[in-house]
């Protein structure tokens, strides 16, 4: 496929008290449209990704809300797949372009989380899990903690391995002015912060964030910009207990195999990646499931520094979900934007030298949905 | 003859000593232990209530008796801590036990004798031939006002008895009941905690009803205390049942098997019923058991049971004896009780 990213727009990620969801979506969308040199009239469709807004505020019908607020009268859709909503919106937008139905589309992912009470947010996020998981009093930190426990039991992964993910991503975020936490943290800080769900501390978990990201995608391959050459989705059970193994996210493997095939590249050809580190263990699993290292060795792989800027395969130069922030549905779009900027050599201090092929990995729930994209310059 | 076919008991594992409660409120421990004679009491967890306790006890009764729940035609739950004022505990318990829909269910309240009232009432269904098996439960997560003297004894437990005509382990030889309007202990719907009338709860309340009911049953059955191998009274503390026993001519040995109050406190509707279960755990074929419950408000239900030869095989099947559950304990401090108060009263 030869889809082009014609424009990008990203808000600051953080506690943005004076902005509501629509403000965020419009800020990002307008920046993306302006960068693309297209006009509102050129946009055929708006794919709006959001997970929580209906539940938290009662406002649904977001596709129409965002599109009409932008003055776009074409098609509009809301896309939801838990934390993979952003990636799914990109994927569906691409399908509409490949089908020839639309020529230029706007994909915007936005989330407004900080208006609600913490326990309400934790409950709302559990919408990405199963009913039985909710009845058991589980939370997303707890679900990933169970996966971390299994990984520690089987492979001897340690809390230090987990913490090194957080430390590395904070280092990257310190060079990203859009990040929620643009500062470094030490191993001690991560290991000694309050336990939220054993063995995770506060610093093993991505935060509650407001933010939005938008991209203009076009099937006009003469447009200057980066190509998306692979886009694939895979699905597994919503319920963690029903998975074949707690030691992997099988849908990651499935989606990446498909996406890499579409792009005509192998995992060893990837120069950098944005992966879904909702919790530290998730990044370790991603390293293994995407094939950057062998199963069981993900912790070591990160701890050795291979995924740090300057290393073999820089991962999450944006700061990842942990340090850049995780406005749920915006993340998948932000990942596309980060890789796009890297391939366009616009990443400033966190620029990866010689970056030409990048990968994004966006996960919904505890691994029920995975979306993988391949981008090439 | 109608009798007990099987039974089950559930005692929560947490225990608190009076010293922990006294410490919390700045009271003198030794005085309390001396006057009440309760050494520790059972405390239910924050996610337990009279319904969950009933399910545990009743399930064990069904398991021990190898009884298909669908054959139970009547269920009563006697409690002072029914989770709802309007909505029966007995139907929730019946549903979860798998009893189906062909049964009579009723929730009973009569302070600490609501459970035994159920035994008398349900036995009527069986003797009329309306159904073959019935289930009488006494279950409480007893409430008491924090810092009140009742807090040292009010505890949690449940006992369930399946009654029927065949394969009984103990026959119900006879029973009687003695009732009057006596305001010794009460709680209106609008109130969180019960109130009591101090020393009035002794002689005109507990003793008047227990002694009268017991003497009436002695007369009816033409028996005296000497005829019995075991006796169980409602145990609000260690003193009252010992005194009642003495007054009626029973000796301490007869009281021993069912005397559970020192180890688990007073689980209200389950008190005499858990005592009866503890007695049946060790009783022998042919032995006679006398039981007299007491419920404030007030009334006493008195029973004579005769143990059958079936008891031996039953005791082999019953792994969760009262003694075993009394032993399976973990000491706690006041924090769980504080948590339960916050949770229950939505503070």
């Amino acid at each position: 496929m030869k889809i082009k990213v014609a424009g990008t727009g990203l808000t600051k990620f953080g506690e943005l008290w004076s902005k509501d969801l629509l403000d965020l979506a419009l800020d990002a969308s307008n920046d993306a449209i302006n960068e693309s040199r297209l006009t509102k009239n050129d946009i055929d469709a708006v794919f709006m990704a959001n997970m929580l807004h209906g539940k938290l505020t009662g406002q649904d019908h977001l596709g129409a809300l965002v599109a009409s607020s932008l003055g776009i009268k074409g098609a509009s859709f809301r896309v939801e797949g838990a934390c993979a909503s952003g990636g799914l919106a990109v994927h569906l937008a691409i399908q509409s372009l490949l089908a020839g139905t639309y020529k230029n589309v706007l994909v915007v992912g936005a989330e407004k989380m900080t208006d609600a009470h913490v326990s309400e947010i934790i409950s709302a996020l559990m919408g990405a899990g199963s009913e039985q998981e909710r009845k058991a009093g589980l939370t997303f930190p707890a679900l990933y903690a169970l996966m971390a426990k299994a990984h520690m039991q089987k492979f001897g992964t340690t809390r230090n391995h987990l913490a090194s993910v957080s430390v590395k991503n904070h280092y990257h975020a310190s060079m990203n002015e859009k990040a929620q936490f643009p500062f470094e943290v030490s191993m001690e800080k991560v290991l000694e912060s309050p336990v939220i769900s054993s063995p995770f501390t506060l610093f093993d978990a991505s935060p509650i964030t407001d933010g939005a990201g938008a991209v203009i995608l076009t099937s006009d391959s003469t447009t200057p910009g980066v190509f998306i050459t692979g886009s694939a989705v895979a699905t597994d059970s919503v319920d963690l207990s029903s998975r074949k193994s707690l030691l992997e996210i099988a849908a990651t493997k499935q989606a990446s195999i498909k996406a890499l095939k579409q792009a005509g590249v192998e995992i060893k050809d990837i120069h950098l990646a944005e992966v879904h580190d909702c919790f530290t263990i998730a990044e370790i699993l991603a390293m293994e499931d995407l094939g950057f290292c062998k199963k069981g060795l993900g912790g070591e792989f990160v701890q050795k520094g291979h995924t740090r800027l300057g290393g073999k395969i820089p991962v999450n130069t944006s700061g990842g979900l942990k340090a850049c922030g995780h406005p749920v549905a915006a993340t998948g779009v932000k990942q596309i934007i980060e890789i796009t900027h890297q391939l366009q050599k616009r990443a400033g201090k966190r620029q990866v030298e010689g970056a030409n092929v990048g990968l994004t990995h966006n996960v919904g729930g505890s691994g029920a949905t995975v979306v993988v994209h391949i981008l090439q310059s | 003859m109608i009798g007990i076919v099987s039974y089950g008991v559930y005692i929560p594992k947490f225990r608190i000593k009076p010293s922990q409660i006294a410490k919390t409120w700045g009271k003198e421990v030794s005085e309390i232990e001396k006057s009440l004679g309760v050494f520790e009491k059972a405390v239910a967890s924050y996610d337990e209530d009279a319904i969950t306790l009933s399910i545990e006890a009743a399930f064990r009764a069904l398991l021990n008796g190898e009884i298909d729940p669908k054959l139970i035609g009547g269920i009563t739950i006697g409690s002072e801590s029914h989770p709802y004022v309007v909505k029966p505990s007995s139907t929730t318990v019946a549903e979860i036990l798998g009893m189906g829909t062909d049964y009579l269910a009723a929730d009973l309240e009569f302070a600490c004798k609501a459970g035994t009232a159920g035994i008398q009432l349900l036995s009527g269904l069986v003797s009329q031939g309306k159904t073959k098996l019935v289930l009488a439960i006494g279950s409480d997560v007893a409430q008491s006002k924090p810092a009140d003297v009742l807090e040292y004894t009010a505890s949690s437990a449940a006992a369930a008895f399946v009654l029927g005509k065949t394969n009984t382990i103990a026959s119900i030889v006879d029973f009687t009941s003695f009732s009057s309007d006596t305001p010794d202990f009460w709680r209106k719907d609008s109130e969180k905690f019960p109130s009591h009338a101090g020393r009035f709860t002794g002689s005109p309340a507990y003793f008047d009803h227990v002694l009268h009911a017991s003497k009436h049953l002695f007369a009816k059955t033409k028996m005296t205390a000497q005829d019995f191998d075991h006796v169980i009274f409602h145990m609000p503390n260690a003193k009252f049942p010992k005194e009642a026993a003495k007054k009626l001519g029973f000796n301490p040995k007869q009281l021993a098997a069912g005397f559970i109050v020192e180890k688990i406190g007073n689980p209200y509707s389950a008190s005499s019923m858990v005592g009866l279960a503890a007695t049946l755990d060790v009783a022998k074929n042919g032995q006679l058991i006398f039981m007299c419950s007491y419920g404030s408000g007030a009334g006493s239900d008195a029973f004579v049971f005769e143990v059958t030869p079936e008891i031996k095989a039953y005791q082999k099947r019953n792994t969760e004896t009262v003694a075993r559950q009394i032993k399976n304990k973990e000491y706690i401090d006041y924090s769980l009780i504080a948590k339960n108060i916050l949770t229950k009263y939505k503070i």
Binding site: V118, S119, E120, I122, S123, M126, S130, Q132, E133, R134, K135, A136, G137, L138, T139, P141, A142, A145, L146, M147, K149, A150, Q153, P194, V195, I196, S197, S198, P199, F200, D239, L240, S241, S242, L246 | K13, S45, Y46, D47, E48, D49, I51, T52, I55, E56, F59, L63, P69, P83, Y84, K87, T92, E95, I96, L97, G98, K339, L342, T343, K346
Partner: protein, 98 residues
């Protein structure tokens, strides 16, 4: 928490879960809870293998230190979460060490 009708359907599914024995595969101690579970913190949740299927369940009546891989656990029926004043109480399956 669930609506009365959802609870009604749910209670009908509980009787097969009485007294079931399974083994504990993984567990975690939760300190930050969702709405309706705040009164329980900290509490333990794990995945239990019943042979023919696995389930996520709360683990009660024990401490984290009591838990180990493949620990035998048995089901109990307890209250799920905390019903609001006007709600129906929900009962459900949890496990405790055997």
């Amino acid at each position: 928490m669930s609506t009365p009708v959802a609870i009604w359907r749910q209670h009908k599914t509980l009787s097969p879960y009485l007294n079931k024995v399974g083994k504990l595969i993984v567990w975690t101690k939760i300190f930050v809870a969702p709405s309706g579970f705040e009164h329980q913190t900290p509490y333990l949740v794990g995945i239990v293998d019943f042979g023919d299927h696995k389930m996520p369940l709360q683990i009660v009546d024990c401490e984290e230190a009591d838990l180990k891989l493949n620990l035998k656990v048995i089901t109990v029926i307890r209250k799920i979460g905390k019903a609001k004043a006007e709600d129906v109480i929900e009962y459900g399956v949890k496990v405790k060490p055997l």
